[in-house]
C-alpha cells in the first residue's frame, strides 16, 4: 500500500515547476533508513517539496480507498511527509513512540501529516491513543486532520473517544458528513450527548448546528424513513 502511495506522489511531483529536483529530493530522502535523517526530511518537506495542493481528481486514481481518502485534496508536502513517516515507522523498533514523538515535536503542518498517516501505517490499531489525544488539540486544523475525511477514528477509536470527537465536531462547526464511517459507529450514547447539547444551546437561546439531527437520529431510522 505504501508503495502505491509513493508511486502516486512521485508521479505528482514529476510534473510542474521544479519537478525534477523535488523528485530527486524525495527519492533521496526515502532511500535513507536512518530515522534521524528521515526526521530531518520530514521537517524540511514543506520548504523543499512545497505545499501546492494536488488536484482531487488525481487522488481517485489510487485503488486503495484509504489512500484515496488521505490523498484527496492533500498538499504535496503532507503526502511526502506521510511517505517518510511510513518508512521511519518501519525502520524503528518502537513505531508508536516514533510517531508520538514526531507528532509532539511537530509544528501544526507536521502534526497534521502524522494524523493523516495513521490509517495507512502498519498495524494502525496501536495508534488509537495518539489519535484520541490529537482530538484534544485546540488548533482547529490539527483537530480536523484526525476528525475530518480520515478513516482512522471510526475504525480504531473507542466509543468514548469517537463520541467525544463527534461532539467536538458539532461544537467547532466541522460537518458531520466529513466524518468517515460515521453511520457504522453511531450509538445511543452519542445520540443522547447530541440531544443534550442541542437542548443546552436552545435553553441558552443559541443556534444549533444544522447537521445535529444526523447525530441525534439513528442512521437506521433515517434509512427506513427515506
Amino acid at each position: 500500500m505504501s508503495a502505491q502511495l509513493e508511486q502516486y506522489v512521485y508521479a505528482k511531483l514529476a510534473g510542474g515547476l521544479h519537478g525534477r529536483s523535488r523528485l530527486d529530493w524525495l527519492s533521496r530522502a526515502l532511500a535513507i533508513c536512518d530515522v534521524q535523517t528521515l526526521n530531518a526530511a520530514f521537517v524540511l518537506a514543506s520548504r523543499t517539496i512545497g505545499s501546492d495542493v494536488l488536484p482531487p481528481s488525481d487522488a481517485e486514481a489510487l485503488a486503495d480507498a484509504d489512500l484515496a481518502c488521505i490523498a484527496h485534496g492533500a498538499p504535496a508536502d503532507e503526502l511526502a511527509r506521510i511517505c517518510v513517516l511510513i518508512r521511519a515507522t518501519r525502520a524503528h523498533g518502537d513505531p508508536v513512540a516514533l510517531a508520538t514523538e514526531w507528532y509532539r515535536r511537530g509544528d501544526n503542518r507536521e502534526k497534521r501529516a502524522v494524523l493523516r498517516a495513521l490509517s495507512v501505517l502498519d498495524d494502525p490499531d496501536r495508534y488509537a491513543e495518539l489519535g484520541a489525544a490529537a482530538c484534544r488539540s485546540s488548533v482547529q486544523l490539527v483537530f480536523e486532520a484526525i476528525c475530518s475525511s480520515n478513516p482512522f477514528p471510526a475504525r480504531h477509536f473507542s466509543d468514548l473517544a469517537f463520541n467525544q470527537m463527534v461532539l467536538k465536531a458539532l461544537f467547532t462547526g466541522v460537518p458531520v458528513s466529513s466524518i468517515q464511517g460515521f453511520d457504522a459507529r453511531w450509538n445511543q450514547e452519542l445520540s443522547r450527548m447530541a440531544s443534550d447539547y442541542a437542548r443546552e444551546r436552545l435553553v441558552a437561546g443559541r443556534s444549533v448546528p444544522v447537521d445535529i439531527d444526523r447525530v441525534i437520529a439513528s442512521p437506521a431510522a433515517a434509512t427506513e424513513a427515506s
Binding site: 521537517v43 509544528d107 501544526n108 482547529q140 458528513s177 466529513s178 444549533v208 444544522v210
Partner: protein
C-alpha cells in the same frame, strides 16, 4: 497602512490584543523566544515554550488574520542558569530547522557575564549553520557598553552584519549600530526604552535605512499597538508615507526574508484545502440555522 511588528511576545497577551492589532493594520508579527518573567528550572519547559511558538500561537494569530513567525534561542538571562542552559542549547538544532523560525534569538548580553558570552557565541555559530539571521537583545543596564561588546563579538566571529538585528536601541547606541552593517531595532515602550516622539527625532536625523521599530510587548507594562502608534506619530510629524511604510513594513520583511522562510502568502496551515474542494464550508464563518 499594513504593518509588521517584528518583536512582540504574544504568549503573554490576550485575544483582545490580537483583535486590536489587526484593527490597527498589524498583518504580520515575529515573536522572539525570551524568558517568561521568572526563571525556568527545567529544559523541558523551554521545549514546550518553543512548541507553543510554533503551534498554538500561530493558530491564535491566524484567527485574527495575523501571520505569526518566531525566533528560537536561549535568552541571555537564562543562559546564566546551569540548570537549563546546556540542555537548551542542545535542543536548539531540532527547532531552528522549523518552517516558522525566521531567526535565532533573542540572544546577546544581559549582565555581560562570561557565560552569556559563551552562549551568545555558540548561538551565532548555530545561526551560521542554519543560515538564519540573528536577533540580538541589548541590556537595560550599561546598554552602550553592551551594544559595543555585541558588535565586537559579531565582528570577531565574522558573522555577516547584514544578517544581524541589534534591538532595543536608544540615542546613544543607534549611531554605533548604523556604523556597522547591522540593522537597528527600537522598542517603543510606555515608560522606558524608546518613545514615539524620540523615535521621530531619530528617523529625521538618521533616515529609514536599516531602521526597525517594534512594541516588544510582553507581560510587563507595554503596549502591542506601539508600532501603529509610532507610524501615526511619524506621519503627523511630517515623515513621508513611503519612509514610514519602509520602517514598519518593508524593512522587517527585508531583514527576516534573509531566512528564506518568511512566507507571507495565505496561511494554508489554517485553511483546510479539503473543505474548499468539497465546497462544504457552509458551517465555517457563518451562523448555523437556529431551530426553535
Amino acid at each position: 497602512m499594513r504593518m509588521f511588528d517584528p518583536h512582540v511576545h504574544m504568549t503573554s497577551r490576550t485575544t483582545d490584543d490580537y483583535e486590536a492589532m489587526a484593527n490597527r493594520g498589524i498583518a504580520a508579527i515575529v515573536e522572539p523566544a525570551f524568558w517568561l518573567g521568572q526563571p525556568r528550572t527545567n529544559a523541558a519547559t523551554f521545549e514546550d515554550y518553543f512548541l507553543s511558538l510554533l503551534g498554538w500561537e500561530p493558530f491564535r494569530a491566524s484567527q485574527f488574520g495575523i501571520r505569526h513567525f518566531c525566533t528560537i534561542g536561549l535568552n541571555p538571562k537564562e543562559a546564566n542558569d546551569p540548570r537549563v542552559a546546556a540542555e537548551v542549547l542542545d535542543l536548539l538544532p531540532r527547532y531552528l530547522v522549523k518552517d516558522g523560525v525566521v531567526a535565532v534569538g533573542e540572544i546577546g548580553y544581559d549582565d555581560m557575564t562570561p557565560t552569556e558570552e559563551t552562549y551568545f557565541a555558540a548561538q551565532l555559530e548555530l545561526a551560521a549553520t542554519f543560515e538564519l539571521p540573528v536577533l540580538v537583545h541589548t541590556p537595560h543596564r550599561d546598554k552602550k557598553r553592551g551594544t559595543e561588546r555585541s558588535l565586537a563579538l559579531i565582528q570577531d566571529m565574522r558573522f555577516p552584519e547584514e544578517r544581524v538585528l541589534i534591538d532595543h536601541n536608544n540615542e546613544e547606541t543607534l549611531p554605533l549600530v548604523l556604523d556597522t552593517g547591522c540593522w537597528a531595532g527600537h522598542s517603543i515602550y510606555p515608560d522606558t526604552k524608546m518613545d514615539e516622539e524620540r523615535m521621530v527625532v531619530l528617523v529625521k536625523k538618521y533616515g529609514k535605512e536599516r531602521i526597525i521599530v517594534n512594541s516588544a510587548a510582553d507581560w510587563g507594562k507595554s503596549d502591542p499597538l506601539k508600532v501603529a502608534k509610532t507610524a501615526g506619530r511619524m506621519l503627523e510629524r511630517g515623515i513621508s508615507r513611503a519612509d514610514v511604510e519602509a520602517i514598519v513594513w518593508d524593512n522587517p520583511i527585508r531583514f527576516f526574508s534573509q531566512s528564506g522562510r518568511l512566507d507571507l502568502g495565505p496561511d494554508d496551515t489554517m485553511v483546510d484545502q479539503r473543505r474548499q474542494f468539497e465546497g462544504n464550508s457552509v458551517l465555517r464563518g457563518q451562523e448555523p440555522l437556529v431551530r426553535s
